[in-house]
Symmetry: C2
Subunit: 294 residues, 2 copies
């Protein structure tokens, strides 16, 4: 059971859907914690908080459902329709070999965290998140631009108070964004920094990412925010598509399945284009799910 936590529009659904597709829907089910919202969009307007606040969700029921799924039992999951902003009839979720839970607060409580084998936090920088959210909420969820800006502002305090603290409980922290030290043009594909914490057994990438083997990705020893040593995997967005394909292949053969090609479903982003940093991030998550981190 895998958790992918992060702010609204941090990329949770995009990361998750490639992993789910690679595993196949017969073996894998994904649960979005947005469905556990207590209020319809219209009811929420009278509430003193945004969906990022734990009191805005059935957190105790979410914990209960995570425990049930973790022990192989089905649940009747509530459903929130993002298009209409309304809670609708619940739907049954049968446990499968792999359960992926994504949302704003899957790691909020200790009881919930205890259900997961691997935990991921998407630490997408604020300007990237804002950009992604504006595009999604105006295009897919029927919000106006001003509404989106207002919701982002309203949620900032709760993001800091409830969402971001989950970063401390993640085994893997992923940051999609431009590389701060470089002045790449605006349309350069985003890079990723993936922190692989020693809280679980992480894949050994030292050999396959030896310097000079690939320019797309490199591994370096770093200090985590708390000062502890951590493996930091950098995957660059600016390298050529040939270099990217070669790097993906090396990593897939080491982490995934050496007998098969890189699954076409990995690395797909909303616009239909591919992202090598996303694909490699998904490979790491797949590795953890398929080979069991503990």
């Amino acid at each position: 059971m895998l958790a992918v936590a992060g702010d609204s529009a941090a990329g949770k659904t995009t990361v998750t859907s490639g992993v789910v597709e690679a595993l196949g829907s017969d073996r894998c089910v994904s649960v979005c914690t947005d469905d556990y919202q207590r209020f319809d969009r219209i009811e929420r307007q009278e509430q003193p908080f945004t969906p990022l606040h734990p009191d805005c969700s059935y957190i105790a029921i979410l914990e209960q459902h995570l425990q049930l799924l973790a022990t192989g039992q089905p649940v009747l999951k509530p459903v929130y329709d993002h298009c209409t902003g309304r809670r609708v009839r619940p739907e049954p979720v049968e446990p499968k070999d792999f359960v992926i839970v994504h949302g704003a607060l899957p790691l909020h409580s200790k009881l919930a965290r205890a259900c997961f084998d691997v935990t991921v936090f998407l630490d997408t920088p604020e300007d990237v998140r804002r950009d992604w959210r504006m595009k999604r909420d105006t295009a897919v969820r029927g919000y106006g631009r001003d509404q989106v800006t207002a919701e982002i502002e309203a949620g900032e305090e709760e993001y800091v108070g409830f969402v971001r603290p989950q970063r401390a409980h993640a085994d893997v922290v992923v940051r999609f964004g431009p590389i701060p030290s470089r002045n790449d043009p605006r349309d350069t594909p985003l890079s990723a920094e993936v922190l692989l914490r020693p809280t679980i057994r992480q894949p050994d990438l030292t050999e396959i990412l030896a310097p000079d083997l690939t320019r797309t990705a490199h591994l370096r020893l770093a200090r985590d925010t708390d000062g502890r040593p951590v493996d930091s995997l950098h995957i660059h967005g600016y390298t050529t598509s040939e270099e990217n394909a070669a790097a993906e292949k090396i990593i897939w053969h080491a982490l995934g399945d050496p007998r098969t090609d890189v699954p076409a479903c990995l690395g797909i982003i909303a616009s239909g284009t591919r992202s090598t940093p996303l694909a490699i991030t998904q490979m790491i998550l797949l590795h953890h799910l398929l080979h069991g981190p503990r």
Copy 2:
């Protein structure tokens, strides 16, 4: 935790609501298993069964929720709107001191039965049920008379196959109806026969129902359908309102609370009139809930 099982329109809601009101909504919560239906009314028309069939409900989820409530945990209960025939958004149910579960199939599975302290089956005769159902479904649920007749016919086989077998698992079996051996006029209030099975510790009524103390109710030793001895409490519908009030008072002071009057919420039937057989049945259930049968 108390279960009240029985066919559609057997009187489950009427029996339950008086008990819930007497206990107070701060101490008691009631759950209707109709809410666990898998299909909207319109979807069900394409199904080969009526709501009395276990496959028409989320039976495994109902079992799970009963177990959770029995162990003091909240559940997010699905909701079926009988007026519109649609499943709508679920609602949270917090466990309370007393949980009363009523519906067609709460005693269907062994796992579900294990959750209850007291189990009741309403064995209302077929002609009485038909009459009640016609009144309710045309008045409250917006069905036409022909539709109701068709639904009753369609459900008969499933009633015999799934609902009626639960009678064997009940600690208390209640039969509201006219007394077969008497030829009372049609508007005579219904009587009740209440079987008190030795599967749980039943209240001792032998003294308070000694012959000549009241004409309204009497207790006699009988044989259950399987030949085992059972206490059979008869409560007559034809006695005068003075006799009824006196009998209710005697039984309430013995079973309920000797310091208080008979609660006004007991014995209330849909039309707003009172039924002494109903009130006394509810007193027995209250006694079991308040004094713990086991």
